[in-house]
């Protein structure tokens, strides 16, 4: 009869393994193989340098708007590094570094931000979905994919990315709820980068953490230092093991920071202070990982310089290839491609009219 206290036995942990000074908790270190550590380091550096180059290209008018990933390399790469090639990645739109890890070419990224849908035809056939722009909506696709994998008896997990802003969307709730109810093998990876354009994390939710939202859905949740690639890897590996064992979904909140603008159309100086950005610069995910690798004698100053140079060359080659392709990519009649499995009668007629219009315009141009 009386009002009684309901004990919630669950708890939320916070995990840091590699701190911002580069000190490592030896007991928690996942002891990743040196080759993987170096591959991750190179991927982080490539992500950062590529962002900087894309920003230059955008400012020079050579590509359109894009969302930079700088500062979030550890959260993205630590997570996808756990996946097997046949596991699924379901991205939002700020996961370029992770997409490239999964096999997307830099050329495809440049071409897409250059405004050409053909970019997707360069992408490898593997199970990585294209970027999804409507915030939070892609999370449900990961639930369907994870459910289908289990239905087929296939040992695959689906990792989906989203941001702190997405946690306000209805689809966040529906995806978390459906995944938990159906025990779908899904990893919900929240890149809490503190800002949804101009809205700070504290105005997005009154929950002290995003990770704790997992408890309400009856799933595991953990908060990690998202700039600590070892912690992200360890938390996501634990989530993947749980999913593969039939233990259902996990919410992993990565606390990180969007070092640049939301997209190149945004000016963050309007809503956040330079001091705040400086504070996060000291927690940079690449800097601390570099120190860790040097202490483990996997990196030297010379090797760091060599990687930096190789990455710049790789980016330059991609820019050259993409710009050459953009100059010659040709006929816009491809807008009619892939509307349906087969063109409908109306679309066939519209496609013919489009081509006739193009021909007429060309003729007028040449007559003039």
């Amino acid at each position: 009869m009386p009002r009684r206290r309901i004990e919630l036995n669950d708890h939320i942990a916070h995990l840091t393994i590699l701190d911002e000074k580069g000190a490592v908790d030896k007991k928690l270190d996942p002891h990743l193989p040196p080759a993987l550590l170096l591959k991750l380091y190179r991927a982080m550096v490539r992500g950062r340098r590529f962002d900087e180059r894309l920003l230059d290209l955008q400012r020079q008018g050579r590509i359109g708007t894009f969302p930079p990933t700088s500062g979030q390399e550890a959260a993205q790469l630590g997570a996808v590094a756990v996946l097997q090639p046949e596991d699924w990645m379901v991205p939002a739109f700020r996961e370029t570094a992770a997409e490239v890890w999964r096999g997307r070419s830099l050329e495809s990224v440049i071409l897409a931000y250059g405004g050409f849908s053909e970019a997707a035809s360069l992408d490898p056939p593997g199970p990585t979905l294209p970027v999804s722009i409507p915030v939070g909506s892609q999370m449900l696709h990961a639930v369907g994919i994870g459910w289908a994998a289990r239905y087929r008896g296939e040992d695959r997990v689906a990792l989906t990315f989203f941001g702190d802003g997405a946690t306000s969307e209805g689809d966040f709730h529906e995806a978390m709820n459906f995944a938990a109810v159906f025990r779908a093998p899904v990893i919900f990876l929240c890149q809490n980068n503190q800002w949804a354009i101009s809205i700070p994390r504290t105005q997005q939710t009154r929950s002290p953490t995003i990770a704790q939202k997992a408890l309400a859905y009856g799933m595991a949740g953990i908060q990690v230092d998202g700039n600590d690639i070892l912690a992200v890897y360890a938390a996501v590996a634990e989530a993947a093991d749980r999913a593969r064992a039939g233990g259902g979904p996990t919410l992993v909140e990565c606390e990180t920071y969007r070092m640049m603008m939301h997209t190149t159309a945004d000016d963050p100086k309007r809503y956040r202070s330079e001091e705040e950005v400086e504070g996060w610069r000291r927690k940079d995910p690449i800097t601390r990982f570099e120190i860790y690798l040097q202490r483990r004698r996997l990196l030297t100053k010379a090797k760091i310089a060599a990687i930096a140079q190789e990455v710049l060359e790789e980016i330059q080659a991609a820019v050259d290839a993409a710009e050459a392709k953009m100059r010659t990519i040709g006929d816009p009649v491809t807008i009619f491609d892939h509307a349906y499995a087969e063109l409908t009668p109306a679309l066939r007629a519209q496609r013919e009219a489009f081509q006739a219009e193009q021909a007429a315009a060309t003729k007028e141009g040449s007559d003039a």
């Binding site: 379901v90 849908s117 053909e118 997707a120 035809s121 992408d123 056939p125 979905l129 294209p130 999804s132 409507p134 909506s137 892609q138 999370m139 449900l140 696709h141 990961a142 639930v143 369907g144 994919i145 994870g146 459910w147 289908a148 994998a149 239905y151 087929r152 689906a158 209805g170 689809d171 709730h173 529906e174 995806a175 709820n177 459906f178 109810v181 159906f182 491609d337 892939h338 509307a339 349906y340 499995a341 409908t344 009668p345 109306a346 679309l347």
Partner: protein, 326 residues
């Protein structure tokens, strides 16, 4: 040949497709144990189990978004929306993803799913339970929009929708769910999506319609012939998008007089596109302005007034007489 209601005919389609193809999964609210609020999925849970007939949490976006993921993985989900008035909570999944994934991925992924939903008036229901908003889906590139008009074509079109490689929104005229029975063969029968059908031939007037409006149109056409001898040709669209204009354009060129009947609101409704096609392709054959007998541009009234809102045989007949006399 067994005589089936539309509910039974739809159930037959689902049952046979599930039996022959283990990629077909049924999901939605109350579709399992309960067999759906209209019983369209009755018996499927017992036959195929909870692995293939999913009672989902109550969330439309969740149902459609999850279906998209299943379809991307290679399954053939058939999801049920309890009423078409609740699809709006999933509309962004349809418009933003189901309709675009093939294009966005340049053919790498596609979404072969069916969204079934009862639509339309005539069952004395609550608000949000009677609308006819097929135009939203027909206007969305990447979607197909199908509306059957009777038990037999409902079954054959649903089979086609399940096998279609693109996302299909399948509206079921709930007023017809149990209105009458029709011969439906047990053997496989498939009707192509994107094809209209001439259901009554005539040389004096063309009536274009679909869904629940077909029956009052046919009744009016019979009365018209009895009373005045005028023969109306009746064309059932069956698919709203992609719209098959071949039959109604050919018919209009013969009769020169066209009426369009739908329960959807008039402005920007499917009739507007039909008129546009006729102006483009049959203009010089038209003897009279094309007329539309439709719902009005108002919120669908509560049920005490729904019969005043919905087109019926009398309204069609009066309009036909005016059109013939003109």
């Amino acid at each position: 040949m067994p005589k089936l209601t539309m509910v039974q005919a739809l159930n037959l389609a689902l049952n046979q497709e599930m039996a022959s193809d283990d990629r077909v999964i049924v999901l939605g609210e109350d579709v399992g144990m309960d067999g759906g609020v209209f019983r369209v999925t009755d018996g499927l849970y017992a036959a195929y189990g909870r692995q293939r007939v999913l009672d989902t949490p109550l969330a439309e976006s969740g149902i459609v978004g999850m279906s998209i993921g299943m379809a991307i993985y290679g399954l053939r989900p058939v999801c049920e929306m309890q009423f078409s008035g609740f699809v709006y909570q999933a509309f962004h999944q349809l418009e933003g993803h189901a309709a675009r994934m093939r294009w966005r991925s340049q053919g790498r992924y596609h979404v072969p799913m069916v969204l079934r939903a009862p639509y339309g008036g005539g069952v004395r229901a609550l608000e949000h339970h009677s609308e006819s908003r097929e135009a939203y889906y027909a206007h969305t590139p990447g979607l197909k929009m199908v509306i059957p008009s009777g038990p037999r074509n409902a079954r054959a079109l649903l089979v086609a929708a399940i096998r279609d490689p693109d996302p299909v929104v399948f509206f079921e005229p709930k007023a017809l769910y149990r209105a009458y029975r029709e011969d439906v063969p047990q053997e496989e029968e498939v009707l192509p999506i994107g094809k209209s059908q001439t259901v009554r031939e005539g040389g004096d007037l063309t009536i274009v319609t679909y869904g629940a409006m077909l029956r009052p149109v046919l009744a009016a056409a019979t009365t018209l012939q009895e009373q005045s001898g005028a023969a109306a040709e009746v064309i059932d669209l069956q698919t709203i998008a992609p719209l098959d204009d071949s039959l109604f354009v050919a018919s209009a060129r013969r009769t020169g007089r066209v009426m369009i009947v739908h329960e959807a609101p008039r402005s920007f409704g499917p009739g507007a596109e039909i008129v546009a096609r006729l102006v483009e392709k049959a203009f010089y054959h038209l003897e009279e302005p094309i007329v539309r007998v439709t719902g009005y541009d108002v919120v669908f009234p509560l049920f005490a007034r729904e019969n005043s809102y919905l087109p019926n045989a009398d309204r069609v007949l009066r309009t036909a007489r005016r059109l013939i006399a003109a």
